[in-house]
């Protein structure tokens, strides 16, 4: 393995999970997310020499975001012809996943579902900053880089996203004030 590839594996590959989660949030379909992430890693590898500094995660997620936007444009341009659906059980991955997914056994299932749904009702630009902040634990500067907006906009979007989530939660639970833990 050459040097460049080894450095890429060490620096960039550890952020694969974060890139995948982010792509899932953006595209909201696992298949689309797979394609976006693969394209992003290819672009990242090609542009790896241009990476300066240690902000690898923000750099990678920026590429994921750009790939998502490109894919979105292509989808809108293309006439959509549905293919016959393949059975999930024939999928190699489905075959090896013999244990139930951890989330299905979680005792917090109801809260999960409510939160997932609430989050999906947020506007895209609100959900994006909230996920980057709370799930990926990025700081304002990194979020600004990924979303390509000024830090002030990141702050106001975050505030609105959080307020909307709280309002939605109170609505779900009939205004019980202590429902959001």
């Amino acid at each position: 393995m050459d040097d460049r590839r080894q450095r890429f594996d060490t620096l960039v590959m550890p952020h694969l999970d974060a890139a995948y989660r982010f792509a899932r949030w953006l595209s909201r379909s696992p298949d689309d997310a797979d394609d976006v992430v693969q394209e992003a890693f290819l672009r990242a590898f090609r542009g790896f020499d241009s990476l300066r500094g240690s902000d690898v995660k923000a750099w990678l997620l920026t590429i994921v975001k750009n790939c998502h936007l490109t894919a979105l444009k292509q989808q809108q341009r293309r006439v959509f012809v549905p293919l016959p659906e393949e059975h999930d059980v024939d999928d190699g991955e489905a075959m090896i996943a013999t244990t139930p997914a951890p989330e299905s056994t979680s005792v917090r299932r109801d809260e999960e579902r409510t939160l997932d749904r609430l989050l999906s009702t947020l506007r895209d630009e609100h959900r994006e900053v909230l996920v980057l902040r709370e799930i990926e634990e990025m700081d304002y500067r990194e979020i600004a880089a990924v979303t390509n907006v000024p830090i002030g906009t990141v702050m106001s979007r975050l505030a609105r996203a959080r307020a909307a989530l709280k309002a939605g939660w109170l609505n779900e639970t009939d205004g019980e004030p202590h429902a959001v833990r």
Partner: protein, 262 residues
């Protein structure tokens, strides 16, 4: 309606303020009921999102990881066509042909030095094994015979491969037998026994090898490769599990193989 300090309070909560501004913000919140409530809400929202959101801890599927690794390998092959073609064109030629004539001679000498000095980097067997493992993780490539029963898997190899490897289920030790597969390399139909350990797939390759010695255990592209031999059968377990676990399975299989051979 909304306190003018609310964005600064949020920044305080997110750890974005320097010490001086943070102290100022704390002092403000002490006297402002609205911002105290805001802080409490921010904390609750964060806890809820990090604990209760099903997608918060999702990781990338192994098949996607394998797909990416493969596309990066291909990308690298495209990047360096000169080096690859030189190695390829060099190999089939008898080495003495141009060995003493000028530039070609030194190129070959450099090539030999490269092979001799860095055997771990250029061993085609390791590449073949790794490629076979990664390919097996792609959809529909993992298993030819799906079975958790060693009495089904082992006879299946008799008609499909040139060797009959040790097959066992170590479910109690955490290695579940999930099936078998035939793969072609080292000029023979090699047998692959597939185990599952947690979320990881372990491919155990086996083929007849009459040469002496054994490749050293190694790690490539993040995958571990562990080798051992029983009689003239060489085994190689490949996976992205931890070394300890992979070597644990290797030990179990080696012990069983040695016992059977007696």
């Amino acid at each position: 309606m909304q306190c003018a300090e609310s964005l600064r309070v949020q920044a305080y909560f997110d750890g974005e303020l320097d010490a001086f501004s943070a102290t100022k913000s704390e002092r403000h919140s002490e006297g402002c009921a609205e911002c105290r409530t805001l802080l409490k809400d921010l904390g609750r929202t964060r806890t809820a999102l990090r604990q209760d959101l099903s997608c918060a801890s999702v990781s990338a599927p192994p098949a996607l990881r394998a797909r990416i690794m493969r596309s990066l390998d291909e990308e690298r092959a495209l990047d360096t066509p000169h080096r690859v073609s030189r190695l390829k064109s060099w190999r089939p030629q008898p080495f003495w042909k141009g060995a003493f004539s000028g530039i070609a001679g030194s190129a070959i000498a450099a090539g030999i030095a490269f092979f001799v000095m860095a055997p771990g980097l250029t061993n085609p067997l390791l590449d073949d094994l790794l490629t076979a493992h990664v390919r097996s993780l792609m959809p529909d490539h993992l298993i030819d015979v799906v079975s958790t029963d060693k009495h089904t898997v082992k006879p299946w190899f008799a008609g499909h491969t040139d060797v009959s490897p040790v097959v066992a289920d170590f479910d109690q030790q955490g290695f579940q037998l999930i099936g078998g597969r035939a793969d072609y390399f080292e000029h023979q139909r090699a047998a692959v026994v597939v185990y599952q350990h947690g979320a990881h797939v372990i491919n155990v390759f086996s083929w007849a090898w009459d040469q002496h010695g054994l490749p050293k255990n190694t790690t490539r592209n993040g995958y571990h490769l562990a080798f051992w031999r029983v009689g003239n059968l060489v085994y190689c377990a490949v996976s992205d599990t931890a070394w300890d676990e992979l070597l644990g399975l290797a030990q179990l299989l080696q012990d069983l193989g040695t016992r059977d051979a007696r």
